[in-house]
């Protein structure tokens, strides 16, 4: 039976070696192994991307008058050759319009085509890696083509009635809707040649949508 050991690197013993070199496991002085989760490792590799639709003081318009499956508030087309794993979605409402059901939905599927919209700003988790996303991201789109097959609804959050408040006496509704893959632990692989769509549906909503995902060669996920 062999006893395994690493190397104590808690404070002064820490060194950062080159890519591809052999290395002992990093340990604290009591033998505890230093660990990082896989998604954090992908982040350092530069393979996690953030798409911003609306930033700072610039909102985008969400689809008005209820959820329309052909009008995407955010759409990612995943091409052949890569697959993505959704990690985080944040929807922020600056306004809702008048009273109507609020539906926040994320779906994946195939056959969808986005209508014209605004190009999302997409950034890598580690710009030093030089990696860029192969996906095409669009926000605030006009009517296109709905999913035609393989539809999977990954997340939904609703509010029965929502309205832009005008006085402090009015009851507040949620303005920030958030989903995180890490909270459930389930990872969904999307693609190659598939799409992901987000709706932020109310009467006449506007705000921001940000989305984070890991992107890998599809060969690594088959």
């Amino acid at each position: 039976m062999s006893i395994m050991k690493g190397e104590i690197a808690q404070t002064t013993g820490v060194d950062w070696d080159s890519e591809g070199a052999s290395k002992s496991l990093r340990m604290l002085r009591d033998g505890t192994v230093s660990m990082t989760n896989w998604i954090a490792a992908l982040s350092l590799e530069g393979r996690v991307f953030t798409a911003n639709n609306g930033v700072a003081t610039t909102s985008i318009e969400f689809g008005a008058g209820g959820l329309d499956t052909t009008e995407f508030d955010f759409h990612i087309a995943v091409p052949a050759g890569v697959a993505i794993i959704p990690l985080e979605l944040n929807i922020h409402y600056s306004a809702f319009g008048t009273a109507l059901l609020v539906e926040n939905v994320m779906q994946t599927g195939t056959g969808s085509v986005t209508g014209a919209g605004t190009t999302s700003v997409v950034r890598s988790s580690n710009p030093n890696s030089g990696r860029t996303s192969s996906c095409t991201c669009t926000g605030a789109a006009v009517a296109g083509t709905a999913f035609t097959a393989n539809v999977k609804e990954i997340w939904r959050e609703i509010d029965q009635l929502s309205i832009t408040i005008a006085t402090i006496a009015q009851l507040r509704v949620p303005y920030n809707y958030r989903w995180s893959a890490l909270q459930s632990g389930c990872l969904d692989v999307v693609g190659p040649s598939a799409q992901l769509a987000v709706w932020a549906s109310s009467n006449a909503g506007g705000g921001m949508i940000s989305f984070k995902w890991a992107e890998l060669p599809s060969a690594a996920l088959v």
Partner: protein, 224 residues
């Protein structure tokens, strides 16, 4: 005494080899070990399934007038060859009807069966590239009686609201519309099957909405 070493694969040296090949431990440049959670590994393997009862703009009708143990709003029948581990349940009420107790419940047990007129659900793998499909049969929106559980009943989760009603003005007080359960919150994993059922109720006066369930599915032999 063996000293454990890996290879530094933080940015440019990362490689992804073929199935079954030997591979070195992945380390960051300071020697930190990269780990993946078991459920995430099963997700990539395609063994986590999402079952949707109602999607997009199509809601299903939940059982009305209170919880009826033989009318299931979602029922998963686990056959003799597999077991499942529930991971996540989401219930969304678009309407609840007039004032009545709201009860959201998930149970497992044996001997239960959904009525044949129930609606089939859509079930998808976490990684469609693997080609794995679920061996379970899932139905929803049973509005006529089937058979209630007869043995081994375990109630895994419950959330309730004492009274609920569809709001029609902004001045009315809001109640929850989204009820969520996640196994990761407690860390407890419940193995269901083989030859079991999993049932979900989303009970109110006259509710409508959507239910989604995520679960791991494995051959029964690996859990015995």
């Amino acid at each position: 005494m063996a000293k454990v070493e890996g290879l530094i694969k933080q940015t440019t040296a990362v490689d992804r080899l073929k199935e079954g090949a030997d591979q070195y431990l992945r380390l960051l440049r300071d020697g930190t070990l990269s780990m993946v959670d078991w459920i995430a590994a099963l997700s990539l393997e395609g063994r986590v399934f999402t079952c949707n009862a109602g999607v997009a703009t199509t809601a299903i009708a939940f059982g009305d007038e209170g919880l009826d143990t033989d009318e299931f709003d979602l029922f998963v029948s686990v056959p003799s060859s597999v077991v499942i581990i529930p991971l996540e349940l989401n219930i969304h009420f678009e309407t609840t009807g007039t004032a009545l107790l709201v009860e959201c419940v998930m149970q497992v047990g044996t001997g239960g069966a959904a009525n044949a007129t129930s609606t089939a659900t859509v079930t998808r793998s976490s990684n469609p590239n693997t080609g794995l499909t679920s061996a379970c049969t899932s139905v929803c929106a049973a509005n006529t009686s089937g058979t209630a559980f007869t043995g081994d009943v375990k109630e895994i989760w419950r959330a309730s609201d004492q009274i609920s009603i569809d709001i029609d003005t902004i001045a009315q007080i809001r109640i929850p519309y989204n009820y969520r359960w996640k196994a990761m919150t407690s860390g407890v994993l419940d193995v269901v099957g083989p030859s079991y059922g999993l049932a979900v109720w989303a009970s109110s006066k006259t509710g409508t909405g959507m239910i989604s369930l995520k679960y791991i599915e494995l051959p029964a032999s690996v859990m015995q």
